[in-house]
Amino acid sequence: MQHKNGKRVIISIASGKGGTGKTLVATSLALSLAGKERVQLLDCDVEEPNAHIFVKAVLNHKESVFIPIPKVDENKCTYCGKCAEVCIYNAVAVFKNKVLVFPELCHGCGACSYLCPESAISEEYREVGIVETGNSKGMDFVHGKLNIGEAMPTPVIRKVKSYINSEMTAIVDISPGTSCPVVEAVKQSDFCLLVTEPTPFGLNDLILAVEMVKKLGIPHGVVINRAGVGDTKLDEYCRKENIPILLTIPLDSRIAILYSRGITLVEGMSQWKNNFLRALVKIREIAHERACST
């Protein structure tokens, strides 16, 4: 799948609501393409990464994700208080003869070390997560894992995304929601596929997700999962807002059971492959149109 400038497209799979089937869609989409062209599956849901379970990824490389935090040399420090004053996150506190750093609050911006008048601050590195890479069934695979107890997933997401290879089509699995880490993961996608379900919860959260991709200016379409439950308001909304519905997956206990066992849809029911490939053709058309018009 190629862009006009020869660059391969990045397709992110997101949703406002959790548990609507993002990972199901991401893994099946990637597997449908694998073997036809070079494809990468990147799991940016670093809080709860699951794609590796479905694609049985063989992970052969592991890298720590660090953020730089200040380290104060108390021999040079005059306790002037500048560092505490500039740190907007209150990650440093200066007392009469002691400087305290609170690593969990530090965003690693580097302001304190740069601005310390005595050059008393150097930086050390704190691990907040890991990124693992490998392959699976003819695809490149990358995922990140936020360490337990860590609050900030963004540096791990950035690291996962640094593995995006412009020579391959990239499928990116995103965590639920619309806040900062989600935006970080969706940014730079050529297309965003929003997975939802036809319930009031699904619709409510889809509206938020649509607001987000519109704000980012990313072309988007919808996948309706568990069609058959709930009501018809979702269809009505998509029609009214002119959002293409690219794939509809019915509520089917066979699909739910495959999912529960960690088997991808296209492997458990191979007839689905064509549906995913058809959706991909439409995604390519929309992404291409947008790329040409901007």
């Binding site: 406002g16 609501k17 959790g18 548990g19 609507t20 990972t23 809080e47 709860e48 699951n50 379970i53 479905f54 500039v86 907007i88 996150y89 965003h107 690693g108 911006c109 580097g110 302001a111 740069y114 601005l115 936020l146 337990i148 107890g149 860590e150 609050a151 900030m152 997933p153 965590s175 639920p176 929601g177 619309t178 806040s179 900062c180 880490p181 989600v182 935006v183 970080e184 940014k187 319930t199 009031p200 919860f201 409510n204 959260d205 938020l208 607001e211 987000m212 704000k215 980012l216 439950v229 709930g230 009501d231 739910a256 059971i257 999912y259 529960s260 066992r261 960690g262």
Partner: protein, 292 residues
């Protein structure tokens, strides 16, 4: 006054349907929606807003192009790659203020952000404190801490027994803010490999912050083999599985009718949820799990 938070790690396991039912079952409580990013509880509780407040938090840098001499220092130091062509990308900006402090001609100002709203509402089940974080905003943690604080104040003023919080998915900042200091966490999982994987991570987070967890397996009959594995895993961890809820379309139908499932129908699902609530009350009262 005791604080219960309902979490899951993985999204979509049924937290909100369960909290909605607890709302109908519990007598003396304040309800809290800690999923400020994709809040759904209001769809069941149909709140009437009584108080709406702006949530101002975090800053974003702004470059005055008139004053800017295009020296490029800010672009060089910004670690979030938020400045390109002397313009700030507000989505990437983390508001650290580094650029503001170093700009040699003071061309950069930091502007407070209106990051969302929080609300105190009335529902037919009692007070609800909820919030809405703006798209692409940070500081969900602060907003959640605020919402929880308000809920506690209301509970204390009105001498209510519990706060019951619907938590966000994941394990990061919003989850930590919802969890820390709570008396009990109910972890709602499902018998799927992803649900199990995520359960292990959220249990570790509970341990990390010293909040005792109880587990509820939702859609239990979807895969009973997996469900048994969850039970033995929890047994090994010394965590009680207090409820196994069967799969039933009534849960979704109830959502469509904007009702807690325990008010929508009377079946094996609702029996299970009622039993679970009694168990939770017993745990909260007796602090039975305080040792965990």
């Amino acid at each position: 006054m005791k604080e219960l938070v309902v979490l899951s790690g993985k999204g979509g396991t049924g937290k909100t349907s369960i909290v909605g039912s607890f709302a109908a079952l519990a007598k003396s409580k304040v309800l809290v929606d800690c999923d400020v990013d994709a809040a759904d509880l209001h769809l069941i509780l149909k709140p009437t807003e009584q108080q709406k407040e702006e949530f101002w938090s975090g800053q974003v840098a702004f470059v005055d192009r008139e004053a800017c001499t295009e020296c490029g220092l800010c672009q060089e130091v910004c670690r979030f790659k938020a400045i390109n062509d002397f313009t700030i990308d507000p989505v990437s900006c983390e508001g650290c203020g580094f650029c503001y402090h170093i700009c040699p001609v003071q061309a950069i100002t930091m502007k407070e952000q209106m990051a969302g709203h929080w609300f105190i509402s009335k529902t037919r089940y009692g007070p609800l404190v909820h919030a809405r974080l703006g798209i692409a905003q940070e500081n969900s943690g602060k907003l959640i801490a605020m919402v929880r604080q308000k809920a506690k104040e209301i509970a204390q003023e009105q001498k209510l027994d519990y706060t019951i919080a619907d938590g966000p998915p994941g394990i990061g900042c919003p989850v930590i803010s919802s969890l820390s200091g709570a008396n009990l966490a109910l972890l709602v999982t499902e018998p799927t490999l992803s649900g199990m994987h995520d359960l292990e991570r959220i249990i570790s987070v509970c341990r990390h912050f010293g909040v005792p967890p109880l587990v509820c397996i939702n859609k239990n009959d979807l895969n009973e083999e997996n469900s048994r594995q969850i039970e033995s895993y929890c047994l090994n961890q010394g965590i009680e599985v207090i409820s196994k809820i069967p799969f039933d379309n009534a849960v979704t139908e109830a959502i469509v009718h904007a009702l807690p499932v325990v008010e929508y129908s009377q079946n094996r699902v609702t029996n299970e949820i009622e039993k679970m609530w009694q168990n939770i009350v017993a745990s909260l009262k007796g602090d039975k799990y305080a040792h965990l």
